[in-house]
């Protein structure tokens, strides 16, 4: 199997600071509406105790990218390292990929009438740098990793979290370390 880069997000470490979200915007000076990366808060009902727990998600550079499959202009390509790159120069704004991606990651830029999404900072990676979001994560909750069996066999590494679409749809290249709750002394 060829190489597949992806993200490892550690919900135990993530404090939901949203630095990654804005670092991405800053890196590419993205317009307001498309949010390449976004931090989500897990529903507190999914936990034994109420909590504020998060995961951060951009494009998952899926092994079976639906965006790529449906795109009529071949704006999407999958690199040898597994990065799914969207080329806005080719995009004609048909929005089909936005319907096909279960993670809502390709988003239309209403001003440019084209879709945009995270390209995993491939230029930075090619320069030997970390993606901007990873470099910005202060608690070190977001990592660039190679998705492979070794990773999946590590204890605590999860393929999905509550509230996420089934990974069967697109085989996303993201793994998680689940949130961990401490003890709470509550008054309710």
């Amino acid at each position: 199997m060829s190489k597949q880069l992806g993200f490892l997000h550690n919900s135990e470490k993530c404090v939901g600071c949203r630095g990654c979200e804005m670092a991405c915007k800053n890196e590419y000076q993205i317009d307001a509406t498309p949010q390449w990366r976004k931090v989500f808060q897990l529903h507190e009902e999914d936990f034994s105790l109420p909590t504020r727990m998060f995961f951060s998600m951009a494009c998952n550079h899926c092994a079976n990218p639906e965006c790529l499959r449906v795109c009529p202009v071949e704006a999407y390509t999958k690199r040898d390292d597994g990065i799914v790159v969207h080329d806005p120069n080719r995009c004609i704004g048909c929005r089909l990929c936005t319907m096909a991606c279960p993670y809502d990651r390709p988003q239309i830029n209403p001003a440019k009438k084209k879709v945009e999404k995270c390209n995993l900072c491939y230029q930075r990676i090619d320069n030997g740098e970390q993606p901007a979001c990873v470099a910005a994560c202060i608690p070190g909750a977001l990592e660039l990793v190679e998705i492979n069996d070794t990773l999946d066999q590590k204890t605590g590494v999860l393929k999905t979290l509550p509230g996420l679409p089934s990974p069967k749809l697109t085989t996303p290249s993201i793994r998680f370390i689940g949130p961990k709750q401490g003890k709470q002394i509550r008054r309710d």
């Binding site: 470490k13 404090v15 939901g16 600071c17 949203r18 630095g19 979200e21 804005m22 670092a23 915007k25 800053n26 890196e27 590419y28 000076q29 993205i30 317009d31 307001a32 509406t33 949010q35 976004k38 507190e44 109420p50 909590t51 504020r52 727990m53 998060f54 080329d87 806005p88 120069n89 390209n119 230029q123 470099a135 910005a136 994560c137 202060i138 608690p139 070190g140 709750q181 401490g182 003890k183 709470q184 002394i185 509550r186 008054r187 309710d188």
Partner: protein, 733 residues
């Protein structure tokens, strides 16, 4: 002619910058990049420092090409912020190039109408100068002019705002600080001043209590240090009425009854005494009145009482008391939220004493950490200007002539209360009372009664809306400055990375313009110097003390990277306290003299009024710093609307469901905001995060009374504000 603000949007500069800023070719590396898109200049970098009222005061690297700010990054040479910024920091390019920025001097006729007209700097200065001279002539002094400046930009050169006022004579000044004075006074009474350990030293803690502190939102760069301590085995305890993002990460979260933190600390102290975990040696050698306090506790404090008061079970009080007293060293970080109560300062004093009793003060990995001003010893050159000859001032109670101080924390009331002479003109800079002051209705009324209001700002916020003239302020990327932190020990220089946009000017440049105009109209009427480049003004802030502290000989060395002050990691490790007795004053006569208890004993919290049984807490937001940032488009997309967090049980009682609009009100005013049901808050507390959203009237301060906290006068001139003693009623709107 009626010109709307919008008319000024999309000026040539904005258009040019946004085109160059957003360059897809950057992404695709496609050869289609046309020659016109080719940057003519290599990327340059500059050092900046975020000047906001924030613990972290980040070192920044600014990328500039062809005079346009392309992006910002954290400065890797900054040892505390470590090359990373927070979400607000990364949003800066959007602040600089926001189409909503105030671009030119403008006047609004009549005030509050929204009818803004662009005017020249000359006209603006002429209008303002004539008004100043007119008031001086009518009232015989410049006291009818009142300055309200605070934390919008903490750069040292920005103290030129105070300097602007000094240079025209004696004026009325809003004095105090709304945020943290009760805690400052508590530490002043106890230790002589506020002086916290180096936050990087938290890694050495074996036990960590974050007391009313939400670092995840307000001091995110401390997390690596906290986590390091945890990796080494430290336990993290968070005590907070709200289950914050920080509390969600804790090993132990304690949902304490608001305003009862002192009772919790006293309960812990009692258990520590009972088990003789007291560091008698340290406490007796370094403090006065310690035994007296121990006697008080033995007599007055029981665990049952503490548990009853705080809502924390006895066994938990015992658990944290044991762990805190026996894990050596143990660190406490006292947040500013917990002192925004009518007994807030007293609660901090009790927590201070807890630290003393366990010998955690003066220790690496320990401390009762609140903040410090050790690295702020600049010249404040721009601030000090002699009043023009013949200026008449206000005769204070001490018989000295000078400025007339009024309470920043009861600004609306105090401005209106002045009669001899009355306040007629306001000058606002680095301050937005329209959004941040208590009792917004009173603020609006007071502003309406003014003859003339000048505001210096970058955005058309609520205060600007109530002004006659607005002057466009530069952002820190357009200024030279130097910034210190009240938390970490680093100092960084702030270079001018880009030229001032549009017609914006820094506060010092504005003062220079005003001085020229005043002196032209009436020679000798203003002492503010009329020369000096921004960098020269910056250079004048340095002195040998600062040089030595930073190990430099010239401020220019800071261009190579920020420097950390050469101070021990643990505050007070030399045992030289700055109280009158030179010891920790557990028994504090100064406090007693100021009408407060001499000892850190329990003082009852404010009682919930029957008519308004719900506490409305309005802590710091995540996407904003007070009224800064949330209005930017990136923030508006990420966090489009305000919410009020309500416990599901409380919501059910009032028939409120998720997403309903809720009216939050009391006898002072009301706001209507969308409900979010969550058990992260407690049963009788609703939470909404203060912020200024674009095109929204949301403002949490309509229901907030100007109730003072118990302390603040001693060190900051006025007591603080009991922001979190805001009681309301709710109903479905």
């Amino acid at each position: 002619m009626k010109l709307s603000r919008r008319k000024f949007l999309g000026g040539a500069v904005a258009a040019a910058s946004s085109i160059t800023l957003f360059n897809f070719n950057l992404l695709t590396g496609s050869p289609s990049a046309s020659a016109a898109d080719q940057p003519s200049e290599a990327m340059k970098t500059f050092r900046n420092v975020c000047p906001r009222n924030c613990y972290d005061t980040c070192g920044m690297i600014t990328y500039v090409q062809d005079g346009i700010l392309k992006k910002v990054e954290g400065d890797p040479k900054h040892g505390y912020t470590n090359g990373k910024l927070c979400l607000k920091g990364y949003a800066y390019p959007r602040r600089v190039y926001s189409p909503d920025r105030i671009k030119y001097p403008m006047k609004q006729t009549p005030r509050g109408s929204g009818n803004w007209t662009r005017i020249s700097w000359d006209e603006a200065m002429d209008t303002i100068a004539k008004k100043i001279l007119d008031l001086k002539q009518r009232y015989g002094s410049t006291l009818p002019i009142c300055l309200d400046k605070y934390s919008g930009n903490f750069g040292i050169v920005h103290y030129g705002i105070e300097g602007t006022m000094s240079s025209i004579g004696y004026t009325t000044r809003a004095v105090g600080t709304p945020c943290w004075p009760a805690g400052i006074d508590a530490q002043t009474y106890d230790f002589g001043t506020l002086y916290s350990n180096d936050p990087e030293d938290m890694v050495n803690a074996k036990y960590l209590i974050l007391w009313g502190q939400n670092a995840a939102w307000t001091a995110i760069h401390s997390f690596p240090f906290i986590n390091k301590a945890r990796e080494r085995g430290a336990k993290l305890v968070v005590i907070d009425p709200i289950l914050t993002s920080t509390a969600s990460k804790a090993d132990l979260y304690i949902q304490v009854n608001p305003s009862t933190d002192g009772a919790l600390a006293l309960g812990m102290a009692r258990y520590i005494i009972d088990n003789n975990w007291v560091d008698w040696e340290y406490a007796r050698a370094n403090s006065i009145g310690f035994d007296e306090w121990v006697d008080y506790i033995k007599k007055e404090v029981t665990l049952d009482w503490a548990s009853e008061k705080t809502g924390v079970p006895k066994d938990i009080i015992m658990e944290i008391a044991r762990e805190y007293a026996t894990a050596k060293p143990a660190s406490m970080w006292v947040g500013y939220g917990m002192q925004r109560h009518t007994n807030g300062g007293q609660n901090v004093r009790i927590i201070d004493a807890l630290g003393v009793m366990t010998g955690n003060v003066g220790k690496s990995g320990g401390g009762v950490n609140y903040g410090h001003l050790e690295t702020w010893g600049f010249n404040y050159n721009a601030m000090v200007n002699a009043a023009p000859k013949g200026s008449k001032g206000f005769i204070g109670p001490d018989g000295k002539e000078g400025d007339r101080a009024i309470n920043m924390n009861n600004f609306a009331h105090d401005v209106s209360a002045q009669s001899d002479p009355p306040v007629k003109m306001l000058w606002l800079a680095c301050r937005n009372p329209g959004a941040q002051d208590p009792d917004t209705n009173a603020i609006e009324k007071m502003f309406a009664s003014m003859e003339f209001v000048v505001t210096v700002d970058s955005f058309f916020n609520k205060t600007v809306e109530m002004s006659d003239i607005v002057l466009p302020a530069t952002t820190h990327f357009e200024d030279w400055d130097v910034m210190a932190s009240y938390w970490h020990y680093w100092i960084g220089i702030n270079e001018r990375a880009i030229d001032p946009l549009y017609e914006s000017k820094s506060d010092v440049e504005i003062a220079i313009e005003l001085s020229k105009k005043l002196n032209a109209l009436e020679p000798g009427s203003c002492t503010f110097p009329t020369s000096g480049t921004p960098e020269e003004w910056l250079a004048k802030e340095f002195n040998p003390g600062i040089h030595q502290m930073l190990g430099i000989e010239d401020y220019k060395e800071l261009i190579d990277g920020p420097r950390k002050a050469n101070m021990p990691a643990a505050s007070w490790s030399d045992g030289k306290f700055r109280t009158p007795s030179k010891k920790i004053e557990i028994h504090c006569e100064l406090a007693e003299k100021n009408g407060l208890p001499a000892l850190p004993i329990w003082v009852e919290e404010m009682k919930t009024p029957e008519k308004y049984p719900i506490r409305f807490m309005t802590p710091h937001p995540q996407h904003a710093l007070h009224s800064q940032f949330q209005n930017l488009d990136w923030m508006m997309t990420a966090n489009p609307e305000p919410k009020v967090e309500i416990h599901p049980v409380l919501a059910a009682k009032y028939g409120i469901a998720e997403g309903n609009m809720v009216k939050v009100y009391n006898d002072l005013g009301s706001i209507t905001v969308k409900a979010h049901l969550t058990r992260t808050t407690s049963l009788n507390v609703i939470v909404s995060y203060e912020s200024w959203y674009k095109n929204s009237n949301f403002n949490v301060n309509y229901t907030l009374k100007a109730i003072p906290s118990d302390m603040g006068k001693q060190a900051t001139g006025n007591d603080g504000l009991a922001f979190h003693d805001n009681f309301v009623m709710i109903e479905k709107a």
